[in-house]
């Protein structure tokens, strides 16, 4: 790991101020992605701005009918939250199956979405649950947040403060985990909102996306058979050492069926 200067700001303003005045600063949340990346010297920030002491980034609450999860909430906190379990059990299950217990004890929702790994679990939930990403500057609709392979709409220095999820009538998430890391080989999040179904897929392509063909099929008939009838095109899906595009296309279909059945 290259040298850097470590900061532990007490509030949001100070964190953003340090980020803007540093040469090439990075926020540090759970460190579960950033620190391994720095160990490999694939990242070498001049400054690390530890978000761990900022109270305003914590907490889970219901706000205007939406479920608000502070950016620094760990996967373990989300998985153990009675409020999340009551309103959005699919999200409890998703958070509780990220990585392993020690990763869940440190890793955060804000870090996960800012990192935008194509195989991360949360991005599928954000898209299917019509979430809003709240930052220190603005509110970004999930639909506009994930913009590509490990890329987001965040500007340099912009800090995610919370994610606000819509609460649908029914929702479920199913993933085929990579057996070593538990990242999604393919993960499908299905949600049944008052105005129609939303289906989002992670792990399969360059970044998480919605699958309108599934949604149309589910709006006609909210059954596993309806999604089974949709042909998934392998064009644009990833082929890597873990799985071929054809296998991923097959998994999308299977996970979508299971998710609808689990709703």
């Amino acid at each position: 790991m290259y040298r850097f200067t470590y900061h532990q700001p007490a509030d949001l303003d100070e964190a953003v101020q340090i980020a803007s005045s540093s040469e090439d600063g990075s926020y540090l949340a759970g460190g579960m992605t950033l620190l391994p990346t720095m160990k490999f010297r694939l990242a070498s920030p001049s400054d690390l701005i530890d978000l761990g002491a900022i109270e305003a980034l914590r907490g889970i609450a219901v706000e205007g009918g939406r479920l608000r999860i502070g950016a620094a909430s760990t996967h373990a906190e989300v998985a153990a939250s009675a409020l999340v379990t009551e309103r959005l059990p699919a999200l409890t299950g998703l958070a509780g199956r990220i990585g392993d217990p020690a990763v869940r004890n440190r890793g955060t929702i804000g870090g996960s979405i800012a990192n935008a790994d194509p195989a991360a679990d949360y991005p599928a939930a954000l898209l299917a649950l019509d979430a809003e990403v709240v930052t220190n500057r603005r509110t970004i609709a999930a639909a506009n947040f994930f913009t590509g392979f490990f890329s987001t709409a965040l500007d340099p220095g912009e800090l995610v403060t919370a994610v606000r999820f819509a609460v649908p009538a029914q929702a479920a998430y199913q993933k085929a985990p990579n057996p070593a890391s538990r990242f999604a080989l393919v993960g499908v999040f299905v949600a049944r909102h008052a105005d129609g179904a939303r289906v989002a897929v992670t792990g399969a392509g360059q970044f998480a996306t919605r699958y309108p063909a599934f949604e149309t099929a589910l709006d006609t008939s909210f059954t596993p058979a309806a999604v089974a009838g949709v042909t998934v095109d392998e064009a644009g899906l990833m082929t890597d050492l873990h799985a071929s595009a054809a296998y991923r296309a097959h998994l999308i279909s299977v996970m979508a069926k299971r998710a609808v059945a689990a709703c």
């Binding site: 040298r3 850097f4 200067t5 460190g31 890391s181």
Partner: protein, 161 residues
């Protein structure tokens, strides 16, 4: 705040106040092993996947290879060295690993035991399934896990008595 090359950090480790110098980039595991000479905590990978380095930070199981030493300043760390009683009698989880042959080479064992203790403290009743899921982040190259699972179930039962 902490700047390189090194600053003094103070924390509590296994119930004792300790102090040592660390760079901002020093990992907690290296601080424990090299500065405090607590070499029971192991390093088995550089991808945060093997769990050999698991310690408790304020009571929570963390991979000490993926936490900075400065992040532990002012906090409480418990390592494998902090489990046995002063008279040398083993913690119930350590004793269960011994009884059930939950180790062969022993490299993964400190992390396994620290993870297992957190698992045993969870409110749910433990099944072999839970234990296998709970040890998802701890890799063992020797045992095939069967005896580790038996050990954790027995250790958890002993801890709950």
């Amino acid at each position: 705040m902490a700047t390189d090359p090194s600053a003094s950090i103070a924390l509590r480790v296994n119930g004792k106040d300790v102090e040592g110098r660390a760079e901002a980039r020093t990992l907690l595991v290296d601080f424990l092993r090299d500065t405090l000479r607590l070499t029971g905590t192991h390093i088995g990978c550089d991808t945060s996947q093997c769990g050999a380095c698991v310690v408790h930070l304020d009571g929570v199981a963390v991979k000490s290879c993926t936490v900075l030493a400065v992040q532990a300043a002012g906090r409480e760390v418990r390592t494998i060295e902090g489990l046995a009683d002063a008279d040398g009698s083993l913690h119930p989880m350590q004793e269960a690993f011994r009884q059930h042959h939950g180790l062969q080479c022993g490299f993964c064992t400190p992390g396994m035991v620290m993870t297992a203790i957190e698992l045993a403290q969870s409110a749910e009743p433990l099944t072999p399934e839970h234990v296998r899921e709970g040890l998802e982040g701890n890799i063992c190259r020797c045992t095939g896990y069967h005896n580790i699972v038996q050990a954790v179930l027995a250790g958890a039962a002993a801890m709950r008595q």
